[in-house]
Subunit: 339 residues, 2 copies
Amino acid sequence: MKPITLKDIALELNISVTTASKALQGRSDVSNATREAVIKLAEKLNYVPNSVAVNLRTRQTKTIGVIIPTIVHQFFSKVIDGIIEEAEKQGYFVITLQSNENFEFEKKQLQLLMQKRVDGILISLSNQTQQCKHLNEILQKNIPIVIFDKINKLVNCSKVSIDDQMAAYNSVSYLIKKGYKRIAHFRGSLMPQNSIDRFLGYKKALIDHGIEFDSSLVYLCDNNDDFNDGYINAQKLLKDQNNVDAIFAITDLIAVGILKCFNENGVKIPEDIAVFGFSDWFMSSVVTPTLSSVVQPGFEMGRKSTEILIEEIKNLNTNTPYAFQNIVLPTSLVIREST
Amino acid sequence: MKPITLKDIALELNISVTTASKALQGRSDVSNATREAVIKLAEKLNYVPNSVAVNLRTRQTKTIGVIIPTIVHQFFSKVIDGIIEEAEKQGYFVITLQSNENFEFEKKQLQLLMQKRVDGILISLSNQTQQCKHLNEILQKNIPIVIFDKINKLVNCSKVSIDDQMAAYNSVSYLIKKGYKRIAHFRGSLMPQNSIDRFLGYKKALIDHGIEFDSSLVYLCDNNDDFNDGYINAQKLLKDQNNVDAIFAITDLIAVGILKCFNENGVKIPEDIAVFGFSDWFMSSVVTPTLSSVVQPGFEMGRKSTEILIEEIKNLNTNTPYAFQNIVLPTSLVIREST
DNA sequence: TTGTATGCGTTATCAA
DNA sequence: TTGATAACGCATACAA
């Protein structure tokens, strides 16, 4: 049973395909009588326009592509949630692809999306991504891109992120005001901007409050397995016996790994060592002790990125000039038992 | 800068579009010389076939649609991960939509996917879905559907699930063998098959082990907010003072809600009351106490469903008859501190 | 108000 | 081995 087409409707009503098309588009150059007849028949036959044909004709797919490092990650699934909701509201579909934090994969996924002729692309860069030729090539083809969360300042397009440096600064400042003096930092990979920014925020907070920065208190967690990275580096920290009284971790997962290690080793949190996370995953509100963290607006980040992207797509279609936006979403601290 | 088309290549090489097309498809009725010339030029010009045109012509979109209740849910994000991985391996794109556990939404999303002319659909039914006319209508149009996780036995299509009844049976049997005698069940909504099955498994385990089923020990968690449902019903259970010594919860989130309530009220787990979860979310391995649970293979469920769906799509294209499959994936128990 | 002709970019048929 | 022609389903410019 083949799908009903405009031709079927036109044939049955003895009109042209053109007229049928116009009628369904609700255009004014069709008589009321025929319009109604067409609409009625279309409903009766359960006509569904073939969007592939429409896409080919209008050179639009009403589809946006999304590339994230990994979907099994509470923050990114919230982002996707926001993306899907906003896209659907505006009549767009969402195709999701993962880069697995791998630069080559990221490039490949972009190629796939180009082949699919998506109208625009949302991307959160992989940790391995340094140069952005692959993105610039696409932008040159007039396909809008919005980068979110893990951005790269060198790419000339709209971006939606948080102020990682300030969020880190605020977290560490909070710890200092609470009386902690020897604060370690469990940092992420060296490349991503947000990893760098959170580190810088940490460092700046120390300095601004008259605490000397000590690079031996910075632990590198870059095995792409946050929980275990946190756990293992916490063991290392205990061995180092460096009198640390608080830790600012770059992600909640790392922080939870630290909690596990400390709980196993009888280290009291926060009495012996306080722990601060980043992202406020649900998990962090139910671990013991509950984890202080930075509230990162994942859903809104996805929603806003999509809104901007679709706006740019539309501007492009109507030849309306537009400026790239650089949105910085607000964050806040949620203080719990761990600090 | 418009994308390169076959026409551009044909023009430059002074051949016909047809020949160019054949050459790129690697067909034998093209001379080696022209084939090589075409391929070389295509690479030089960075030719990317317009998949929209290909889709229209071949009546295939190489895209599958996925409908899940919600994506911000560890189990479902694992499923999506499996779906995307398998789909990509086979050259398919994935469009994800959410039903938000709402039947009307579910119907609407299916319509959208039909309009998008996806080649097949993967769906996990919403809790509200009882009748399946909307699915049968699509199946009649020869669009394959594979239902996973929250299935409905009445729909005539392939299904991938776990044996919820047996998994529940095994969990409760484990509790009984451990010596627990008065076991409560925190059940889910009344409609979904897996909610029913887990309840039945619980009941059967009791009876098979000579424990009388007591309906006053069954707490209904159907507010679509698992964590709080667990928390609130745990409070109710404490008030009821019914000497319960163990709880089998239908999801980990509910179980974690119970843990929170018990921890706050000085109820010792598992000494006073043991708690068993279902799904084995990551969270469950880091809460205090760590939670015993049923390991539910989300990634494999997504992967396998996709494999079957694409198989059916291909069989349909080649007019190869095929039988619907009913896959039941194995589960296991992970025993932790809470039991 | 209606319809004809054309094209979107590709693939398939069939004749040359 | 090649290419002219048609078709996929729809939308638009323009003529009637």
